[in-house]
Amino acid sequence: MENNSLISITDFSTDEILRVLEIAADFEKKPEPHLLDGKVVSTLFFEPSTRTRLSFESAVNRMGGRVIGFSDPNISSVSKGETLKDTIRIVSNYCDLIVMRHPLEGSSRYASEVATVPVVNAGDGAHQHPTQTLLDMYSIKKTQGRLDNINIFMVGDLKYGRTVHSLVQAMAPFNPVFHFVSHQKLRMPNEYKQYLDSKGVKYYEHEQFADLIPEADVIYMTRVQKERFTDQVEYEKTKDFYVLKNSMLANAKPSMKILHPLPRINEISQDVDSNPHAYYFEQAMNGVYARQAVISYVLGLKK
């Protein structure tokens, strides 16, 4: 790890990931409302992401820390043309940790190189969002009782979805079986399939998945954005293949859980919400524990 920052999920070894998940479980069991007494955390959101920001701020508040920052770059010095480096160097003086979201890829890595305090990446463009990956893994571990030998279905936009890319990499050491369900235009990119090949991980690609649901331990849904299709007729024809409806879940394994990084638009029908397989709202709660764990770990307060 570079000066204790967390920029990419690959900055953590598998052992470190497992340790952070344990710490998250500890926070869930036993809140530590004074762990961050006297500490200040900056949340610098160079692009808006209300949910992620609130999740981080909730995590800091639950440990007794204080939060400073901005959620709209238009009102900050950024709009006056200050470089990222200058902003980060200045803010480093004001806090013990920087949580940062930025539309440009690689911005967090660069920030971690110029900051004098640890940086946690809360999303840098389409590149990385490691705390999302950790909360996804925490949710899998918590609902399945293990990380090993999980049958994971990933559904929707597998080409552009950074959450699925990171999760594929992070789960690879745990002998998973992946089922990639997508329109042929939105398939998992070759670089990730090659990665899985190199690790000897099994994966299958499908264009539909209704009949396969009984095999799944976890169904990870993602949003298919209309704008990804140049041919809107194509979109209209296939969009329903990637919508999960309550009627499709009748033969699912009792322990099967449905995850979604949210926001959901229509890829999970509203009638699924009350089904016991639905887990996406609890998953968001797990995000707070996972972020508490990351913050306390990079600050060296938990080892």
Partner: protein, 152 residues
């Protein structure tokens, strides 16, 4: 050196001869090595005949012995190049250029959404050696292949 007829570019007493540069890449090599700001005597020849390459280019730099880290940058553009170290008109060492493991501040990242294309900062790449040479951005992780190398 016996075959004197090849000496279209005049010999140097001491220094470095960079030979077997692909003819089309001569000026890129000149740019990478920043001859514009070098006080040494530099002579170069372009589109010279070469048995092995068809056309090649050559650069002779008097009284200059490059550090590996300095000269190996050209391997990205001119992997076929080799170096002849000259002392008193004699070739005392001959070696090919070696691909470096990383390059800093040489090329532009191909990803328009990469932070390096917005901030006043140096680019940094890991050199990926597969069938062809490409660069993986240290910041955004995207690959810039050799066809898209843009020198800064």
């Amino acid at each position: 050196m016996s075959n004197k007829k090849e000496l279209i570019v005049s010999a140097i007493k001491d220094g470095t001869v960079i030979d077997h540069i692909p003819a089309k890449d001569l000026f890129k090599v000149i740019k990478i090595l920043d001859f514009e700001h070098m006080p040494n005597q530099v002579t170069f020849g372009g589109n010279l005949e070469s048995k092995s390459m068809g056309k090649k280019a050559i650069i002779k730099v008097a009284d200059k012995f490059f550090a590996d880290s300095e000269i190996n940058k050209i391997a990205l553009i001119a992997p076929t190049a080799n170096l002849n170290i000259i002392r008193n008109y004699e070739v005392i060492d001959k070696k090919p250029v070696q691909l470096p493991d990383s390059v800093v501040g040489l090329c532009k990242c191909i990803n328009p959404k990469c932070i390096t294309n917005s901030e006043p900062m140096q680019t940094k790449f890991e050199v990926v050696k597969d069938d062809s040479v490409s660069l993986r951005c240290h910041y955004c992780g995207k690959i810039t292949d050799s066809e898209h190398f843009t020198l800064l």
